[in-house]
Each structure stands twice: as structure tokens, then as C-alpha cells.
């Protein structure tokens, strides 16, 4: 069991979640965050922090976001995806992208 960052994070990366994580399990890519499933302890503190509701408990992931379960596993150990433990400014055009759906094609690995 773990928590999952879903599509809503892509091209936004608000990073409010990382400040509250007690185990530093967020990993940062160019335009998205993911959760390292080996580190997450399911405390759920990050869920309400995300301004775009991108984070779900694994068993609550909506049907159209299921592929993000595997993506979080893969990207959390991908080359160049590094631990992020302090909040930083969101991507400059985050507010334009925050309500968009179907953003998976925008993901930069």
C-alpha cells in the first residue's frame, strides 16, 4: 500500500505536499512529482495539501488514473528523479494547467 500522485500534478508541481511528508518520500521530475512506494507510510497527510487533488491512497485511485500506480513505482527510481523535501515555487504556468485533464502526454521523464 502506498499513496499515488496522479495526472493533475503534471505541468503544475505545486510541491505543497513535500513539506508535510514525515518520511520524505516525494521524488521530483521535470514537470511532476511522484511518491516512492517503498518509503510512503500511508499517513495521508499530503492528500489535503495538494491544491489540485492529485494525490490518492492506492485503493482510492480513480479508474482513469490507474496507470499512475505503475508510473509512481517506475519514476520514483528513474534516473534524474531526485528526492524533494522542501517546498518550492510551482511551475510558472501551473495555474493555466491545473484544471486541464488528459495531461499524460505532457509528462517529461
Amino acid at each position: 500500500m502506498t499513496h499515488i500522485v496522479s495526472e493533475s500534478c503534471i505541468r503544475c508541481k505545486y510541491t505543497d505536499c513535500v513539506d508535510v511528508c514525515p518520511v520524505d518520500c516525494f521524488r521530483e521530475g521535470p514537470n511532476m512529482l511522484v511518491i516512492d512506494p517503498d518509503e510512503c507510510i500511508d499517513c495521508a497527510v499530503c492528500i489535503p495539501e495538494c491544491p489540485v487533488n492529485a494525490i490518492y491512497a492506492e485503493e482510492d485511485v480513480p479508474a482513469d488514473q490507474m496507470k499512475f500506480i505503475a508510473l509512481n513505482i517506475e519514476l520514483s527510481s528513474a534516473a534524474g528523479w531526485k528526492s524533494i523535501t522542501k517546498r518550492k515555487p510551482a511551475l510558472p504556468d501551473a495555474d493555466e494547467w491545473k484544471d486541464k485533464t488528459g495531461k499524460l502526454a505532457e509528462l517529461v521523464r
Binding site: 500500500m1 514525515p22 520524505d24 517503498d38 518509503e39 500511508d42 499517513c43 485503493e59
Partner: protein, 369 residues
């Protein structure tokens, strides 16, 4: 805290060695977090003595490991306290019951015996025969986070270490310490300082020039660097060099993108701790998404005699709150009493009025006119 680690561990080994046979007891508590500590209290009121096992070298569990200084506001009748204060208060509260603590070890084996008791063995070889087990293991045993470099794990426990068991092993060696927290700084400074464990050389590597460690330790480290007694490098370990099957250096990629080789004898990594469920999953207990399923009458698992309390358990409506864990401890203790004292009638007593409880608590019974 971590400098004490090695010393406590040696004491634990010595204690274990003194026992030829397993320690015979009524109750073993797995986990010394707030709920495990309060389980000592609830068992104590029923005159049940307990042994407590924890993977950390100190009590407190998540309260100490994840938020020692953060205020907690939802402990009943305690408007605010930190994780450290809560732990200290619980230790004071359970002091009359004389529980025995076995720190720095995880429970590896749990097996039911012919006579109905459980055989329990830890990673340090401490063995118990117990009538009951209380699993208060929270989110799992805290384990060091690993340095992930392909192939490097071959040197685990020979040249790559995540904890210092015996500081003397590092004396006179060329040491590379990795990390930016208190453990990394404390050990780096310890091995630079004059004394029996002084290293030949100490190089500290951290991914950025900012530290989680106490500012005083960071200042000391920088002063030692300025006087050429140690060295600090900003960078990440991305590879290693070996010669004749021995680790001889690590490749450190700096912020400038340049990779340099840093020679060494021993590599010490302190990336913090992360909880892992570990062998609990293999004890044949009913487990659901890393949590042990219990009833809400006794907080018993599907194995009679094994109870689960606190964050580790699950039941309809479960909320992972310390206060829920405390409640679970009380009912689990009453659930366990008939197993430990089959012939004794157990009565609910109040600490306000019961002379019997005053006796076990070691307090005077108040006299009212």
C-alpha cells in the same frame, strides 16, 4: 542519541548472552512507540509483566523518529505536547511496572509451541517463551535508508555501514561519511576528534551545502574543515572503484557535474530511517494492506494470544490516532488476562479507589475522612 546506539547494542548482546535459555515471560510487546509503552501500563495494572522489543536504540517510535519536536494537540487532557514529551511522560507513567526493554533488534521469528506459548526470537538472538504477544509495531521497524548505487551492496557490513556498532572498528581508517543529518555530523566529528577512535582521515559528503543537523555541529564541522582536520564535499555518490574485490573509492558527482574519485577504507552512510513492515508479514497472521486484522472486543489477531494495537492494526472504522491506540491497549490487556491467569477472576478496578492498584502502582492509598 546515535552515539549511544553502539553502547546500548553491546549491552543488549551481553544481556542476551547471559541467558542460556529463552526468557520466560507472560507478555512480549513488539514496538516501543507510544502505544507499546502504554500497553506496558495496561498490562501492569493487571499485574502482567512485559518485555518490550524495538528496532530503534531508544523508545518513542514514530513520535521520536518522525516528529520529536512537533506539537501534538489530540492527546486527551494534554492540550499540547511534543513527541519527545509524550514519550518521556509515558516512560514515567510505566516506571512502576519494571518492563524490560530490548532495543536495537527486530523480532524475526514467532512460532507457537506445543504448550500453547510462543517462541519469539530477535535479530540479535534474544529468545523468549511467552504466553502472549502484543504487536504495537506502528508502520513497521525503522530501517536505515540505503545508498542506491548498482553493485555497492556487496560491501555491506564489510566496508559499507549504515550504523556504527563498534566505533573502534573505524579507528585509524580513512572514512567517508555520507549524509547531512545529526547522525552523519555527530559520527564525522566523533572520528575526527582526538581519542581512542580517531580516524586517519574523515571526509563528509552531502548532496547540498545545507544541513538538517544541529547548527552547532555544522559550525564545528566547518571549523575543522578550515583547519584541514577533515574535508566536506558537496555531491552525490554515483559509482565506486574497487581493487582486488575491495572498495577503494567512491565516485562523487558534484553540483558542477564533474565526477571525482574519493579514496576510502570505510564508507558510512546516514540517510535517515524509513519504516518497513518486515517479518511480521510471515507470522501467519491475517494481514490486509500491511495491517493486521483484529476484532474490536480484544484487539486479537486471528491467532489467539497475539494481539495487535495502534497503527499496525485494522478494523471497521479504524483511525490511526494515538488515542485510539491507548484504548486498544486497555481492551487487549483484559483480553489477554484469561490466557495468562486462566484461574483468576479479573475485575475492572479504578486507579482512584482500588488499594490493589495503588499497591501495583507503588503509591499510597489516600485516606478520606
Amino acid at each position: 542519541m546515535n552515539l549511544m546506539d553502539a553502547q546500548i547494542n553491546r549491552q543488549v548482546i551481553a544481556t542476551a548472552a547471559q541467558h542460556d535459555g529463552p526468557i520466560e515471560t507472560d507478555a512480549v510487546i513488539v514496538g516501543a512507540g507510544p502505544v507499546g509503552l502504554f500497553q506496558v501500563f495496561e498490562l501492569g495494572l493487571l499485574e502482567i509483566k512485559a518485555h518490550v522489543i524495538d528496532s530503534l536504540a531508544y523508545p518513542g517510535g514514530q513520535c521520536i523518529e518522525l516528529y520529536p519536536d512537533k506539537p501534538i494537540y489530540d492527546i486527551p487532557a494534554v492540550p499540547v505536547c511534543t513527541g519527545k514529551e509524550l514519550t518521556d511522560s509515558l516512560l514515567k507513567q510505566i516506571q512502576p511496572f519494571g518492563a524490560t526493554f530490548h532495543f536495537g533488534q527486530e523480532v524475526s521469528t514467532v512460532e507457537r509451541q506445543q504448550d500453547g506459548r510462543f517462541y519469539v526470537e530477535t535479530s540479535r538472538g534474544t529468545r523468549f517463551l511467552t504466553k502472549t504477544i502484543f504487536i504495537a509495531a506502528g508502520v513497521g521497524a525503522f530501517q536505515p535508508k540505503l545508498l542506491r548505487v548498482e553493485g555497492l551492496s556487496r560491501f555491506d557490513d564489510t566496508q559499507l555501514f549504515y550504523r556504527v556498532r563498534n566505533p573502534a572498528d573505524f579507528a585509524g581508517k580513512n572514512i567517508v561519511v555520507v549524509g547531512g543529518g545529526d547522525s552523519a555530523l555527530d559520527w564525522a566529528l566523533n572520528f575526527v576528534n582526538d581519542g581512542p577512535n580517531k580516524a586517519e582521515s574523515v571526509i563528509l559528503i552531502h548532496r547540498r551545502d545545507g544541513f538538517k543537523a544541529a547548527p552547532a555541529s555544522v559550525a564545528k564541522m566547518k571549523a575543522l574543515c578550515d583547519s584541514y582536520e577533515m574535508q566536506f564535499i558537496v555531491g552525490q555518490i554515483t559509482g565506486y572503484d574497487e581493487k582486488d574485490r575491495r572498495l577503494v573509492g567512491v565516485k562523487v558527482t558534484g553540483a558542477d557535474g564533474i565526477t571525482r574519485v574519493v579514496p576510502l577504507d570505510l564508507l558510512l552512510v546516514f540517510f535517515g530511517l524509513s519504516p518497513k513492515l518486515g517479518p511480521i508479514a510471515e507470522w501467519g497472521l491475517d494481514i490486509e494492506r500491511k495491517q493486521l486484522r483484529v476484532d474490536t472486543e480484544k484487539f486479537s489477531t486471528n491467532t489467539p494470544g497475539i494481539f495487535a494495537v495502534g497503527d499496525i492494526n485494522t478494523y471497521p472504522g479504524k483511525k490511526k490516532l494515538i488515542l485510539s491506540g491507548f484504548h486498544e491497549c486497555a481492551l487487549a490487556a483484559f483480553g489477554a488476562a484469561p490466557i495468562i491467569f486462566p484461574d483468576k477472576k479479573i475485575h475492572l478496578q479504578y486507579t482512584t479507589t482500588s488499594p490493589k492498584l495503588h499497591k501495583v502502582l507503588g503509591v499510597e492509598s489516600p485516606v478520606f475522612d
